[in-house]
């Protein structure tokens, strides 16, 4: 139950969650307030220094947790909402529905997620809701494929046969007997989806297609700080480390279930 991987993973997620929820109390400064102390190095007053507009980098990193978690969990939720019903139905009913679904899934899974997200984000414009929708749309095929694979053996189990013999409707069997048995894997996949969404959305932000400024956003901060790498490396490395630790936390939790 509590493997070292999971303990570290949950600890990291807890830390990020605390930052997001308690940002207002933890952050030493207002993340949007600029000052004349531009590009100052790390000091006791500013642990990570200030950026090119004189904003406190640490406060922006703490508030950035909100953006990342919102996009990550939003996207994972969207992927589940599309992928779970599709996977459950394809796996349970089989036949032609299954063949068509698998073809569709194979079609999408092969495409590079980042490039797909890049192209769609250009079409719909970057905003928090849009990014969550786009990344959810990019990820749903892998969710559907995983759940379909889980359903196949459960469908043949004796308790499902008994439910069918008792005259249960497909909707009742799927929701009462099959869905609960996939929960373990679904939960793990949710965590992996969050980590992938945060990984990809921060890459999009880095490419200039993320949440528009001035909202604190890790990928965008790394990009902005890159120009001042020789002046204050923490401008880039601070938010970059935050991305890495968050992705690591969700990945460790998600990958600990096989």
């Amino acid at each position: 139950m509590f493997t070292p991987r999971r303990i570290v993973g949950f600890a990291l997620i807890g830390l990020i969650l605390a930052c997001a929820l308690l940002a207002h109390w933890i952050a030493p400064y207002d993340p949007l307030r600029s000052s004349v102390a531009m590009l100052s190095p790390a000091s006791a007053a500013h642990f990570l220094g200030t950026d090119e507009l004189g904003r406190d980098v640490l406060s922006r990193v703490i508030y950035g947790a909100r953006t990342s978690l919102a996009i990550g969990s939003g996207a994972a939720l969207v992927a589940m909402l599309i992928g779970a019903p599709v996977g459950l139905m394809a796996g349970y009913f089989g036949g032609r529905l299954d063949i068509v679904t698998v073809m569709l899934i194979d079609l999408f899974v092969a495409l590079p997620g980042l490039v797909l997200a890049l192209v769609i984000t250009v079409m719909v414009g970057p905003s928090l809701q849009n990014l969550a929708l786009v990344l959810g749309f990019v990820m749903w095929p892998s969710v559907a494929r995983l759940i379909r694979g889980q359903v196949l053996p459960i469908r043949e189990a004796t308790f499902v046969e008994a439910a069918r013999a008792a005259g249960g409707s497909p909707a009742w069997i799927i929701s009462q007997h099959i869905w609960p048995n996939t929960m373990r894997v679904v939960a793990a996949q949710f965590a992996v989806s969050v980590s992938f969404a945060i990984f990809t959305s921060s890459s999009l932000s880095f490419l200039g297609l993320g949440i528009p400024p001035p909202t604190p956003d890790w990928g965008g901060m790394v990009r902005a700080g890159y120009d001042f790498l020789a002046v204050n490396p923490l401008l880039s490395l601070g938010p970059g480390t935050a991305v890495g630790l968050t992705v690591l936390g969700f990945y460790l939790v998600g990958s600990s279930v096989e």
Binding site: L111, V119, V122, S202, L207, V222
Partner: protein
């Protein structure tokens, strides 16, 4: 054998047509008229209509798609809206840059994954380090890893150039010096993925009787590891290499942008930024077709390497 290859290839054709059509329709439909996109928000409806007529954007979408595909098959991808240069001429030199970067990164990742997980020495000291490096590779985004490397090796130590690219014509040494950091950055993720796949297989093979027999005969540990166990554990890595070649484009986009390399990924980002529709479309289409082809190659390679699955 030949029939298998031909059949797989024929099966890939509808996939490619579906994907390119989907991409074409969604790009043109959701983006709105490319003319409106080029002229910006303040353009008058007349100007948009005129440009639409000039480039043929007012024709039905399926006609435009068919037109695009048939010209593309002849190597004509239209002209860039911003530079008026032919798209094919703009893309061609970029492809080589990206291919070289991707190929080097994949080779480095595969070799590093296989060697670090095969080495029979110091499993208890080296093993956890390799696992940690794999986790870093998988979870730290390309841009963060790249910037950290630039910070250490360029800004800090001054050993390697931070960004930029140098063509082969200016000397192989200079070229390779510029390639080191991008290649390492791009390969990290695949090093992690390949390691996980290979390690699981290798641990399995190690327990098999022929490996134990080889060891019992008194053959040296490293010879057993590299000559007996390795060849039997490497097949899943080969499959994964093929499957990840397509996915690699995503990482290449970020890596090329970070290191200012004149590759296809950076061209895609800049065409998006300048609303250059023909270039954007050509690159997106090329990536889609490339991914399908690479998966096809991986499929065929796997079939060739493993006769057991040739039944169907």
């Amino acid at each position: 054998m030949l029939t298998v290859v031909v059949r797989r290839f024929l099966l890939a054709i509808p996939t490619m047509i579906t994907l390119t059509a989907l991409l074409f329709f969604s790009l043109t439909a959701i983006l709105g008229s490319p003319a409106a996109l080029m002229l910006g928000q303040d353009a008058s409806p007349e100007a948009i209509a005129a440009l639409n007529a000039r480039y043929g954007f007012d024709r039905p979408l399926y006609v435009q798609y068919f037109d695009w595909i048939t010209s593309a098959a002849r190597g004509d991808f239209g002209r860039s809206h911003t530079t008026q240069q032919s798209v094919a001429a703009a893309i061609l030199p970029c492809i080589l840059v990206t291919l070289e970067l991707a190929a080097l990164a994949i080779v480095l990742a595969a070799v590093a994954a296989v060697v670090t997980n095969t080495l029979p020495v110091g499993r208890h000291t080296l093993g956890p380090l390799v696992v940690a490096a794999n986790l870093i590779g998988i979870t730290v985004p390309n841009f963060m890893l790249g910037i950290s490397l630039i910070f250490v090796f360029s800004v800090g130590l001054g050993w390697l150039p931070s960004t930029g690219w140098s063509p082969w014509s200016l000397g192989a040494f200079e070229h390779l010096k510029h390639m080191i950091l991008p290649v390492v950055t791009l390969s990290a993720y695949y090093f992690g993925v390949f390691s996980i796949v290979y390690r699981a297989e290798y641990r399995d093979v190690e327990k098999r009787l022929f490996v134990q027999a080889a060891r019992a005969k008194g053959i040296s540990r490293s010879r057993v590891a590299f000559r007996h166990a390795l060849p039997n554990a490497i097949l899943p890595v080969i499959t994964f290499v093929g499957l990840s070649m397509g996915q690699l484009t995503g990482g290449a986009v970020v890596t090329e942008t970070l290191f200012s390399m004149p590759g296809i990924g950076r061209l895609l980002v800049s065409s998006i930024a300048s609303h250059d529709f023909p270039v954007m479309l050509a690159i997106a289409m090329m990536i889609v077709v490339g991914v399908v082809l690479m998966n096809l190659l991986a499929d065929i390679a796997y079939t060739v390497a493993n006769p057991q699955i040739r039944i169907h």
